[in-house]
């Protein structure tokens, strides 16, 4: 049973998150953009996340291919295997698994870095130097995540399908031409749009929650640890829950 204090804290947290989002909007349209910060974050979020995202994409594609093949082989539908991998990776597994990996790596780093800055008075120092923390710290991180997430997702999907293809054709003996033909036939461009839109929204959730948890960190090392854990847990849950609703919504938009 949810107690009253917990509910109040949850609602006020939601309110503060909305205020942060509004402040980000205000900053985007009225303040000078911090290009240096954006490029640094693009390097950290985009470039440095590639290895973990590629490994995740590759092994997910291969295991999905293997499992699907084992079932489809029983009903002699081997060449449809890769099409299942492709559709699943584009619209569901690619964006969700990329988001979970980015939440673990980037969301945690944002909460820890901003949280440490908060408890060591560096955020206050920024404010005394006439710099709004949202302009300098949050906006570059958020925009970099919004740009990087779709690109990372495309990479994960491509490597997932590619790995599935190599496994299926090279090891399991699937027919290369039919497999590829079914991939092209059944992977609609809408599946790709769905994946990219989901990735962008997941990126927004991860960066927003990571920055929010960091900026609202209280206490010393314990507080930073708590904020970091909460950032990963909340953004992962948000990704998984919003994925369900986005699937229903996007299915209406791209039937």
């Amino acid at each position: 049973m949810v107690n009253r204090a917990g509910l109040e804290s949850w609602v006020s947290g939601l309110g503060r998150l909305t205020l942060l989002l509004m402040e980000i909007g205000k900053s985007l349209f009225t303040q000078k953009f911090n290009w240096d910060g954006f490029m640094q974050q693009m390097h950290f979020i985009g470039v440095k996340s590639q290895s973990v995202v590629l490994i995740t994409g590759a092994f997910t594609g291969m295991v999905l291919c293997a499992q699907t093949y084992f079932q489809f082989h029983k009903v002699h539908m081997d060449s449809a295997t890769l099409a299942v991998v492709s559709v699943s990776m584009c619209s569901e597994l690619g964006p969700v698994l990329t988001a979970l990996m980015v939440a673990g790596r980037v969301g945690a780093a944002m909460a820890a870095e901003l949280g440490t800055m908060k408890v060591t008075e560096q955020i206050d120092a920024l404010r005394t130097l006439a710099t709004h923390p949202v302009d300098y710290l949050v906006v570059p991180r958020l925009l970099a995540t919004l740009v990087a997430m779709p690109l990372l997702t495309i990479e994960a999907v491509a490597i997932g399908i590619g790995s599935g293809y190599v496994l299926g054709v090279g090891l399991l003996g699937m027919d290369a031409a039919y497999s590829w033909a079914f991939v092209v036939k059944y992977t609609d461009v809408n599946e790709i749009y769905t994946g990219i839109i989901k990735a962008t929204i997941f990126g927004l959730c991860i960066a927003l929650i990571g920055c929010y948890k960091g900026l609202n960190c209280e206490g010393g090392a314990e507080g930073v640890g708590k904020s970091t854990t909460e950032a990963v847990v909340y953004s992962s849950i948000t990704v998984l829950m919003s994925n369900f609703f986005l699937t229903l919504l996007l299915n209406r938009i791209f039937p």
Binding site: K26, K32, T116, M117, T120, E121, Q122, D124, A125, R127, T128, L129, A130, T131, H132, Y136
Partner: protein
């Protein structure tokens, strides 16, 4: 000129500031003292708008800053420079990037002009040649000096120091005190220092305010403070612990 009028703040049931009113004229060097937990740092953060009071107000050059939005406060804060207790240097930036942070954000000066200003500020705090170092490579005293260089590079009208000598050895503490004096003389900036250190009071203060239980207990000159016969002031100035309140672990 900074003024506070009946400034009050409490955290939970703990009253930290209770209707505190005072004003600091331009160029004055005010030192705020008091035992730990009497609200000195909280008061300082109210003066610069980093904290919002429960009631009362703060005025800077006649402008009421209490209740202003954060973006409006940024404009007011450009009049201030602040040295934090921990120096609060940005870990990810070099000394030069820390010191020149405001210049880089403003973007009004060329890179060469910024570099010259940074060198000047570092020379002023006797740290020339440390531009490329990271904060983690500096000692406590050096970090405070870099923090001061960062606070004075844009020549603020008011400089506030939160326990500038805490955790430093006596010689470094003395050099920081002298630096505060020199900066005050060169920039003609209003100076507000929060400290426990009686040597800082002797060296820096033109006026001393002692806080006790959220009130201004004493507002006087350093000479009168050191010759005061008031038991509370005498006890604090001479650092005498109350024997009956000392608890020993068995």
């Amino acid at each position: 000129m900074i003024e506070t009028h009946e400034l009050s703040k409490k955290f939970g049931s703990n009253v930290v500031l209770d209707k505190v009113s005072f004003s600091v004229p331009e160029s004055q060097r005010l030192v705020i003292i008091g035992r730990s937990g009497t609200g000195k740092s909280v008061l300082l953060k109210h003066l610069i708008g980093l904290m919002e009071p429960d009631s009362g107000e703060v005025k800077v050059d006649g402008e009421k800053i209490t209740g202003l939005e954060e973006r409006e406060l940024l404009r007011v804060r450009s009049k201030f420079g602040m040295l934090f207790q921990s120096a609060a240097l940005f870990d990810s930036l070099s000394v030069a990037e820390n010191v020149g942070f405001v210049l880089q954000r403003e973007g009004k000066l060329s890179a060469a002009e910024q570099k010259e200003k940074i060198s000047e500020a570092l020379e002023m705090v006797e740290l020339a040649g440390t531009e490329e170092k990271k904060p983690s490579e500096l000692s406590g005293g050096m970090r405070k000096r870099v923090g001061l260089a960062r606070a004075i590079i844009y020549r603020p009208e008011i400089i506030v120091y939160d326990e500038p000598t805490t955790g430093l050895d006596p010689i470094v503490s003395d050099s920081i005190d002298k630096l505060i004096l020199r900066v005050n003389e060169q920039l003609k900036a209003t100076t507000i220092v929060v400290t426990h250190d009686m040597r800082t009071v002797k060296t820096v203060a033109q006026r001393v305010m002692m806080l006790k239980k959220g009130h201004i207990y004493v507002d006087t000159t350093p000479d009168e403070l050191f010759s005061s016969q008031d038991p509370v002031v005498h006890q604090f100035v001479n650092g005498i612990a109350d024997a009956k309140n000392i608890e020993f672990e068995p």
